[in-house]
């Protein structure tokens, strides 16, 4: 059942359109992430749900109630800020109990509830500390408990982990997800970190320049990006310059060699396009046990660079020569038996036709020349 609903929401700041045409139905207990680069309008949208901004047009409903113009202190929405925003003059317990105190709940009830929440965030003995005595990760857990104390109908998190160290970020991420599942609270999570969004979310809303690019499960967003923006923003992506040979049958020329794409595209013979291809979808023949299908594309290339990234080995290979050449990233899982080729040696790369997403001048990346983008990578 739809619990949080945004209908045609739009926000202008003067002449700048921060958000437009924003539609979203979030189910009860769903974990939704807004993912996009800074300035894409994700935080503005979150702030409209919290009531810190009023939409220029459109409506926001929570649990069937229209809250579009309701002041923030009447909404009963919990928010966790990027900078924690703990009150420095209050102890941890006072911070967590603040929402209950302004609601004039009895002292005993506040104390009990604060105790429960301190247990929930695994800081049971830190109630009488002050925020400046805690680490960043602990402060953000207190901020989470504080937001949950008022039993909010919706929990909002605005890049809650971006001020923290990498290790704590991962640990806290799991904790947030676990607490959210445990409480079954509808949650909106704003982030520019695709890894966070992919791991945490039931659904991801990818945003760019104030618009929704795609809404879908992490699986859909990663494997079936609908636009060039989504394809490039989520995951690692090769954008390889190529030329159309025959659009109807999906034939392309990559560095002078024939390849085939399973996804449909339009264009005339000789048109320049970009082929989007994930590094992990490409195999290097003879390096690892071949999984190549007989229908896969096979392209001759030269190894230019080998870098060990831990679990993954990344090869940079060049296909073709001169103006028509392209550089491609290929990822392979690391293992001690890997027969790593030397740089400059020839190799053959293979990839399935259905892994190729063709981005033309007018399909794909809105407002930007896909080829310019592809070339900027080289």
């Amino acid at each position: 059942m739809t619990f949080l609903e945004l209908k045609h929401v739009r926000k202008d700041f003067g002449a700048v359109v921060a958000v437009q045409d924003f539609d979203l139905d979030a189910e009860t207990g769903e974990f939704v992430s807004f993912l996009g680069p800074s300035g894409c309008g994700k935080t503005t949208t979150l702030r409209m749900i919290a009531g810190f901004e009023t939409p220029t047009a459109g409506a926001i409903h929570i649990d069937g109630r229209d809250v579009t113009t309701m002041p923030p202190n009447k909404r009963n929405v919990g928010m966790v800020f990027q900078s924690y925003a703990l009150f420095p003059n209050m102890t941890v317990a006072e911070n967590i109990g603040f929402g209950l105190k302004v609601r004039h709940r009895p002292g005993g009830e506040i104390k009990r509830r604060v105790g429960e929440l301190l247990d929930l965030i695994h800081l049971p003995d830190r109630g009488d500390r002050y925020p400046y005595q805690l680490s960043g990760g602990q402060q953000q857990r207190v901020a989470l408990a504080r937001a949950l104390a008022i039993e909010p109908s919706v929990l909002l998190l605005d890049e809650p982990l971006s001020a923290l160290d990498a290790k704590i970020r991962v640990a806290l991420r799991h904790e947030i997800r676990q607490i959210q599942r445990q409480l079954g609270i509808t949650t909106v999570y704003v982030t520019h970190d695709q890894e966070e969004a992919l791991e945490l979310s039931d659904r991801i809303v990818v945003m760019s320049e104030g618009r929704i690019e795609q809404v879908g499960s992490p699986f859909e967003i990663y494997n079936f990006p609908k636009t060039g923006f989504v394809a490039s923003f989520v995951g690692t992506l090769n954008a390889i310059p190529a030329r159309i040979e025959d659009a109807a049958s999906g034939q392309l020329l990559l560095g002078g060699q024939h390849i085939r794409s399973a996804s449909p595209f339009e264009g005339a013979r000789g048109d320049a396009v970009a082929v989007a291809l994930r590094p992990e979808m490409i195999s290097l023949e003879g390096i690892e046990a071949s999984t190549a299908d007989s229908g896969d594309n096979r392209v001759r290339a030269t190894i230019e660079e080998v870098s060990f990234l831990g679990a993954v080995v990344r090869f940079k290979v060049r296909v073709g020569e001169g103006d028509e050449s392209a550089r491609i990233d290929v990822d392979t899982f690391n293992n001690p038996n890997l027969a790593v080729p030397s740089t400059g040696s020839p190799a053959t790369i293979t990839f399935p036709p259905d892994a190729c997403l063709v981005l033309g001048r007018d399909t794909g990346i809105r407002g930007v020349d896909a080829l310019a983008a592809a070339e900027a990578m080289l």
């Binding site: 921060a18 503005t44 690692t236 590094p279 990234l309 407002g367």
Partner: protein, 301 residues
Amino acid sequence: MSTGTTDRLGMALNVATVAASEPERRRRRPLSTAGAWLIFIIGFLYFFVPLFATFEFSLRAAKRDPVTDELIKPSLAAYENTFADPAFWSSLAYSFTVGLITIAVSLLLIVPTAYWVRLRVPRLRPAVEFVTLMPFVIPPVILVFGIIRIYSGPPLALTNTPNGSDILLVGAYVVLSFPYMYRAVDTGLAAMDVRSLTEAAQSMGAGWPRIIWQVIFPNLRAAILSGAFLTLAIVIGEYTIATFLVGTKPFGPYLSLLGQNKAYEPAAVSLISFGITWAAMGMLALLGRGTRGRVQVAGAR
């Protein structure tokens, strides 16, 4: 998973992206804008009415037209008289001289000390800070009390000689300048990473005098100037210490005496004094690092 490839493409994509600004919304305020204006206007009047009154008063001095023998009002007679008074110029010159010597001595003491404390003897830092904060605790009138008592009799009878009193005056002013100078210089040193600069100079073979003169001093120029202007503003207007040590020679006591004997000239000189303060503080604001806050306490009250 590395995002390197994505980043590069992302950068290319962002060329056409107009970053939507998310400016702060005007918050509801417990104090209405009208109330804010009212308070501001009261503050404005408090600040400017006395200045305007002084200005108006300075124009009241009567002056006769040399041809018609009629009274001219308002007139600049008060200013003319002031500028014609040799005591005005000598007091100003005296105070400026004392001010400049004070600044020089203060810098010679404070810059090497602050530098040395930062670099080599950080454990003495609390002691140095304590000394530089003492002038906030010791009012000028008490300081001059002690100085006069200790230096008026043997073995150090300096107050009986004219130059001796001048030396005591500079000494007292240098102490008064400690908080401003130390704060300004220490902040400047903090901003320039003394240790690395010193080590870089050392590795190129520079000795201590060269490091202090050619590396530390030039990099502290803004800090030194702001401390210097504040000190100058204070010394020029200072009355208490000056009057007890050297009588009416300095500018402050001169103005005080003028205020007891003349009617309109004091108004003109007060405005000039205000102008000097304003100029010094203006220079400070220009330097952009006015030593604000607790260092503003010990002045010519």
